[in-house]
Symmetry: C2
Subunit: 467 residues, 2 copies
Amino acid sequence: MASVTEFFGKPLEAINVGLAGFARSLESQGVPVTEVDFRPPPFDVSRLVTTPTGADVEAANREAVRRIMSGRANVVGLARARDVVPGMHERVILHAGPPITWDRMCGPVRGAVIGACLYEGWADTAEEAAAMAARGDVTFDPCHHHHTVGPMAGIVSPSMPVWIVENSAFGNRAFCTMNEGLGKVLRFGAFAPEVLERLRWMENTLYPVLDKALRSIPEGIDLKAMIAQALYMGDECHNRNRAGTSLFFRTIAPALARTCPDRETLAKVLEFIDANDHFFLNLSMPAAKVLTEPAEGIEGSSIVTTMARNGTDFGIRIAGLPGRWFTAQAGKVKGLFFPGFSEADANRDLGDSTITETAGFGGMAMACAPAIVKFVGGRPQDAIDATREMYEICAAEHDTFLVPSLDFRGTPVGIDVRRVAETGLSPRLNTGIAHKDPGIGQVGAGLLRAPISCFVDALTALAGQDQ
Amino acid sequence: MASVTEFFGKPLEAINVGLAGFARSLESQGVPVTEVDFRPPPFDVSRLVTTPTGADVEAANREAVRRIMSGRANVVGLARARDVVPGMHERVILHAGPPITWDRMCGPVRGAVIGACLYEGWADTAEEAAAMAARGDVTFDPCHHHHTVGPMAGIVSPSMPVWIVENSAFGNRAFCTMNEGLGKVLRFGAFAPEVLERLRWMENTLYPVLDKALRSIPEGIDLKAMIAQALYMGDECHNRNRAGTSLFFRTIAPALARTCPDRETLAKVLEFIDANDHFFLNLSMPAAKVLTEPAEGIEGSSIVTTMARNGTDFGIRIAGLPGRWFTAQAGKVKGLFFPGFSEADANRDLGDSTITETAGFGGMAMACAPAIVKFVGGRPQDAIDATREMYEICAAEHDTFLVPSLDFRGTPVGIDVRRVAETGLSPRLNTGIAHKDPGIGQVGAGLLRAPISCFVDALTALAGQDQ
């Protein structure tokens, strides 16, 4: 490889501050972060200041976080994916994470693909569906290529209704299916008759009722304000969504009462939402997506705009190189398992839900949600420490998402691949765990870190050193 | 006064452990409680072991906290006070706090009494109502003498609907009116036409709709479980009730949908609850009342079963002397004031809502609710410290109400007047602030401590030294 100065024609400024980030933390918090697993910077241009094309990285990053923080995220209605998701045609299936082919897909994604083929009526049996998919009769594409996000397997097929979330500050939209609940559900790879029956009820009853109510509310429902409130109420809005679900329920219920003519249907819709504390996840995710997308394409920015997993690969994209995925093997989740299941049953890390961390909540806001450790493991102090550590790798503190227990400090927002490379700290994630085989469903929830090599690879590419 | 041994005929064991309580705290928390304002024990029998009648105080207190913790609190319906509150006849008005006569009533209580007389149609003007009250045409009685609690002025007149909360473990019931919202409301002393109009809508529309829905739910709604959940969601269920209100809303909404035939009425009922994050206060209070009452009358117990203020006096009752109030002047609240108001406008401490602290939440659970400091003042660390300090004066840690941020430690429960006397620490309270004049309403919210002399007086009486 040519040296940096020869290669770019202009000198790169590389400042290796070593432990400075760590010291910064101590200074601002007045408390030692004892659990930081500090490793030496794995990449020698971790303080990239100017890109080969002359872009000022700091200025680009300031613009990226300005856009991420200043956006809006209002859910305005729902529609079938085929009618509203750009590029969605009759035989396309969207999936979570970076691009992947059928032969490399993990069990739960295959299970959910089979479920979608059955749900759409493209196949009558699981075997037929699998054969179709293997033959290439279905086109696979990442949700993220279609302004869409999906938790776990993230499967979206043309008939599935999706939430429509608008960012009126930047004029973009994002989409996500409705949350089905926990346990035996499509997104965890299950495709039993009751899974498909629930999806059909969601399409035929839940969707039109919710859509009608939402469209009766001028400007829809402000999810950004709701997330900010939920962070005051013990959620981090990724794996704990009880407050978000409650606030959404409160806000939409009067509109539902006015627009749903049948009382029993109304009661069933309300019960369905009330029965599922993760209902809000499929709203917090497209909110995160719609807030982060405007940062895509800012030349020279080293801020992460996408983190996503397909259960085989983990991938990121950065603002300065929006078209490129940087991938590594998806990690193993350390977690709490449902009775009867163990780590041996667990699929690797899966889903687009890490868009929440990308937007400055989820794992970034663990300190808001000490009770989440009952679901994902660890102790409440670990939740506080997780947020504190994430300030090390983020470019800003959020002006709207605040952490009461940290004296209303803003959440860490805008993961900077330079800081990840510099500190050796990769983003902390919390996640559900799917069974590794198709057709089973969720087996637990837990914690892990993103694989660091993606971040180093993205930085290498931004520095023009990947040729 | 006779000496202790002479007076009782048998020796009293008095152990003065001095700083032991403080040391206990350090030991169990591993963190110094730096803000403890320690004062020497103000009373020399602060370690009363046996009462003059031979009751074992420790054993009695164990029974008291066992009863307080093992009760249930299900809201099963509503009824007009006259139809359900024992001892409520046609010209009685219940008020918050210890007994008081019209001539000593503070402004906001007088305002609320005037409002109740107008609401009941007993008077046509405020002047007429005040004259009636002064003449003795109305009987005043504390809510607490009728298994009832009321926030702030706590006024309950015969036509007002009250929640019915049942403790099936002990067979007792408690009552409380519905929460009207914030600002210009009866409980803060306002009686303008819009205040009375709202009360009438609550009586004629809200009450029957909610009652019908509740009675359709077998066993009603479990408020104890809901409080436990709300403590995981940033509420302390006294001055922060956003989570409790949300959870109650979620739980009752499907039943409302099934039992309310008119869609617009249903929508208005849902909107009324959604618009008031304090709606749940009037459920958490009777829950606390129904949980603490079974401890009343346990011979020899020094556990507080009632703390209440009428805006003039602060009063407590203890389990071992259930019929007696021990009172002192109500305190001044240090708080945050609404724009246009200041401390000069503030009435003294007011309301029965300190039943929440008595039952082991509210001020006892401040550590659950760091965001509350935006409403009552202080910093999030103060909220943590407040709970930590309260372990010093409580007999137990709750087995159901837990504090996530303190590693799921139980909230302090069962205020022991001996410990208050020993440590010089009186219970910390957080509260709304009423304007001192009748007819105005709420002007802020804040923090204070209960006057310590009530606790010393109760202990003195339990020791038989008050003659």
